[in-house]
């Protein structure tokens, strides 16, 4: 059984001391170790921002893509090589500003990948600008008078897009986060995991302390039915999204299992020579 450290490439992260992203990194390593995923069979694709650096800190196939596009890249990888465990990770700007369309459609497609949003409700790497997940009234360099826009509710958006796995974690609750990520990776389909990952430099509102005071742990609710869409919606609205745990999961078939044709080995292993079929292909054009 590998240890979490087997997934580290010994690069020192550029993150600020105390950044919530450290915990996300350690939790991902922990989940991979718990599932005994060979590092060469793990691909982690990230977007741009502080969070985007995560793919460069792992001893895996790490792909630091472009802003908002981690999900399409990750889907491309998984579709041609389903033998890989593919994880997309990015910030709230990646997932809910520039890449919102990809988030919705990736959820809807239900390709078997795990998507981790490292949500700090602020743009850190640009040195403090508002995010689509910032609370109304949030003061930043781009909203000196306070944000006048309403934040997106990531869980509701995921549920309405047809998500088959929706969970939330908190960098301050690492043991639960490892558990959630393990379940998310095991889930056969698209797993959406929103992680409250505090920015200690530019978000003085949503701090570790603030989250500890406000988050409800779904694991503490007796008989919470994570297979009911209705309960999931109710739970989300009742807590205004401030909870951790697995909100919703179902067993809908994933994208790959619905592809037409006989699917033997992965696309990437296919024989590329079709000269024996060529004459038959030409028949269409006579």
């Amino acid at each position: 059984m590998p240890s979490a450290m087997d997934y580290s490439n010994n690069t020192t992260p550029t993150w600020c001391l105390g950044c919530g992203d450290f915990s996300v990194l350690r939790s991902l390593q922990g989940a991979a170790a718990r599932l005994d995923i060979a590092p060469h069979n793990l691909a982690v694709v990230s977007g741009i921002g502080c969070s985007g650096r995560i793919s460069g800190y792992l001893n895996v196939y790490g792909f630091h893509s472009i802003h908002g596009r981690a999900l399409p890249v990750a889907q491309g990888i998984k579709l041609v090589n389903p033998e890989l465990t593919v994880i997309a990770a990015g910030g709230d700007g990646d997932g809910f500003a520039i890449g919102t369309a990809h988030t919705i459609h990736a959820i809807r497609r239900n390709i078997d990948i795990t998507y981790v949003v490292m949500n700090n409700q602020v743009y850190g790497l640009t040195k403090g600008h508002t995010s689509p997940l910032s609370t109304t009234g949030f003061i930043t360099k781009s909203t000196p008078h306070g944000s006048i826009e309403s934040p997106i509710k990531p869980g509701i958006l995921a549920l309405s897009a047809g998500a088959t796995f929706v969970a939330q974690g908190f960098s301050g609750y690492q043991e639960q986060l490892v558990h959630i990520l393990t379940k998310a990776i095991l889930h056969k389909g698209f797993s959406f995991v929103n992680v409250f990952s505090p920015c200690v430099t530019f978000n003085k509102t949503n701090t570790y302390q603030w989250f500890r005071e406000h988050l409800l742990n779904l694991d503490d609710i007796d008989n919470y039915d994570s297979h009911s869409l209705q309960s999931a919606m109710n739970q989300y609205l009742a807590t205004d999204g401030l909870f951790t745990g697995i909100l919703y999961e179902n067993d809908d078939p994933d994208y790959y299992s619905k592809l037409p044709g006989e699917r033997g080995s992965a696309v990437v292993h296919q024989n590329l020579d079709i000269s024996d079929q060529f004459n038959q292909l030409m028949e269409d054009f006579y």
Partner: protein, 578 residues
């Protein structure tokens, strides 16, 4: 003797003009003749005038004549809009439900023959109104004296997937139309096609189909794309055929997703492509830069249409050259191929996949609406002529490649190309990033590293500059060389063929990197170079001037009204220059 007949079908968009044209082209190609089709359509689903011009010939043909021998009118509008294109003595065939009284004087002035035929009538009597399209196939088949069995064959193929009843009805409409004699005073014999020299059965294809078939033959097994005119046929073909080769086509939410998903699949080790037109290219630019920076093979088809913005979405233009040539922000190595015939679409697509993996960079297959959508009789495609070269790939078992501990994805090498390792390869884990990086793949913004890495990437394509990229035609004993690209080939070739003056023709099949050595030979050989292109600013001419410096010798012929050049456009310019 070569015989050529130019025929136009005109009618209301959405009523089968296109499928009628396609069917006739297939029937001719099966019967040993050659055909070339050109479609005019507008950006709407039903309604409005549409037409399809077909050049019928006893030898290979790649353009339509400027004037028509036959105009087939399914409706009144077609006669009003198109009869002026008929040659003196030309033939108007119209559905007898149309009233032509008003036009009678005009038609007589032009010395035009006209015959009315019961297209709708026969269709209704033996099948259904929509089968008037089959009726005209019967009538033209008889006019050209094509064997009935060939017509029957194509109708079979067109309708066999529909119900038995529909097939049978179409066949009776065809038979009735073919058997009904022409009026006695109509001299139909002048339209008889002489029996073709060879009875070879040939295929007919559009450029987009050849690109898609080329991709499949090159081992492309993944495509992500967003529908757009005039590129959609490529995704439509591959999504149909992929299941039988275990490939995957995804219709994405936008072109940004299309290009980045393609990059992901290619990075993972599968030959992958996307296809789009100008507006999609604009959206893809950031992704294209990523592929250049992270050295990921990427094949992108750009079937050009009229720009900018939504521009002329169903019209012909060649104006994306600058966008592709100068590319995304920053500087990346990239390759632009531009096939000039349907056959070349097939072979160059295969070449594009090999180049993309050899040089680990974006490769554009440039096309234009006219090339992408014009159905034409083609020469046989030879699958055995092709080879698949995956370039430098590291594997766990390869001994001559770097061992696990020292594997560096962006290793400095003599040719600037470093072995790739697909995810899943043991002991070759590495990071990649769009940030400037070191050999290991880790970000590194230091000045020394930046210079070396930039030089590594930008030097990869140097060898291509010395490889030829222009195919030469016409008469080399001339002082004039016409340089052009894409579907202009057929037009220029046919325009030049009827001139007494010798003219050389060069088709630019690789635009980037420019074939510098070959160009400098050509500029020494020919006094005048005429660059023929469909855009307003002379994009190709400007690139040639910039890269070769031969400003004085370069002349331009431009057209940017949405239509391809006519033979006359080319001929007039040649006369002016010689």
């Amino acid at each position: 003797m070569t015989k050529k007949i130019t025929v136009m079908f005109g009618g209301i968009q959405g009523e089968g003009v296109v499928s009628t044209g396609d069917t006739l082209i297939r029937a001719l190609s099966r019967s040993g003749y050659f055909a070339y089709g050109y479609r005019t359509f507008s950006s709407r689903i039903k309604g409005g005038h549409t037409n399809y011009v077909i050049e019928v010939c006893t030898k290979k043909v790649l353009s339509c004549s400027d004037k028509l021998d036959i105009l087939v009118a399914f409706d009144q509008d077609t006669i009003a809009l198109q009869y002026k294109k008929l040659k003196k003595g030309g033939l108007l065939i119209y559905d007898d439900i149309i009233l032509v009284k008003e036009l009678q004087n005009t038609l007589e002035d032009k010395n035009i023959q006209w015959i009315s035929v019961p297209l709708t009538g026969t269709a209704k009597e033996y099948g259904a109104t929509v089968m008037k399209n089959t009726a005209i196939i019967g009538i033209l088949g008889k006019l050209f004296q094509l064997p009935f069995s060939k017509l029957e064959g194509v109708i079979h193929q067109s309708f066999q997937k529909k119900s038995e009843e529909i097939l049978v009805k179409n066949l009776s409409v065809l038979k009735k139309s073919y058997e009904t004699p022409f009026a006695e005073d109509f001299d139909h014999l002048q339209y008889t096609l002489s029996p073709s020299a060879d009875q070879t059965i040939r295929a007919a294809m559009i450029g987009n189909e050849a690109i898609a078939l080329g991709a499949l033959s090159a081992g492309c097994r993944f495509m992500a794309a967003y529908p757009i005119t005039p590129a959609s046929e490529i995704m439509e073909y591959l999504t149909k055929k992929f299941p039988q080769v275990n490939g995957v086509m995804v219709q994405t939410e936008d072109e940004i997703s299309a290009v980045t998903m393609t990059i992901g699949a290619s990075y993972a080790g599968t030959r992958s492509m996307t296809a789009t037109s100008g507006p999609g290219i604009s959206l893809m630019m950031e992704g294209i830069g990523l592929a250049g920076m992270a050295e990921i093979p990427l094949v992108i088809v750009d079937a050009q249409r009229g720009g900018p913005s939504t521009g002329l979405p169903t019209k012909h233009e060649q104006s994306d050259l600058n966008s592709l040539y100068y590319g995304p922000h920053g500087e990346i190595p990239s390759i632009i191929l531009y096939p000039y015939s349907v056959e070349e679409c097939f072979y160059q697509t295969i070449e594009a996949f090999n180049l993309a993996e050899k040089y680990q960079c974006p490769v554009f297959i440039l096309s234009d609406l006219n090339l992408s959508l014009s159905r034409q009789t083609i020469d046989p495609l030879d699958i055995h002529q092709i080879s698949i070269d995956r370039g430098k790939v590291a594997s766990a078992s390869s001994h001559n490649l770097p061992s696990s501990k020292s594997y560096k994805r962006f290793l400095f090498t003599d040719d600037g190309i470093s072995p790739r390792a697909y995810p899943g390869t043991p002991d070759h884990m590495h990071p990649i990033t769009g940030i400037e990086h070191q050999e290991s793949g880790r970000p590194d913004e230091s000045d020394q590293n930046r210079s070396r890495m930039m030089e590594k990437r930008m030097s990869k394509l140097k060898p291509l500059k010395d490889l030829p990229g222009i195919d030469l035609f016409g008469n080399p004993n001339s002082s004039l060389l016409i340089l052009s690209m894409g579907s202009n080939f057929g037009i220029i070739q046919d325009a030049v063929a009827s001139l007494d003056t010798p003219v050389a023709i060069g088709m630019m099949k690789r635009i980037k990197p420019l074939p510098a050595s070959q160009l400098s030979c050509l500029f020494q050989q020919y006094h005048k170079i005429l660059v023929v292109e469909n855009n307003c600013t002379g994009q190709l001419a400007n690139i040639l001037k910039q890269e070769t410096g031969y400003h004085q010798q370069i002349h331009s012929l431009l057209k940017y009204n949405g239509l391809p050049f006519t033979h006359q456009d080319i001929q007039m310019k040649i006369e002016e220059l010689i």
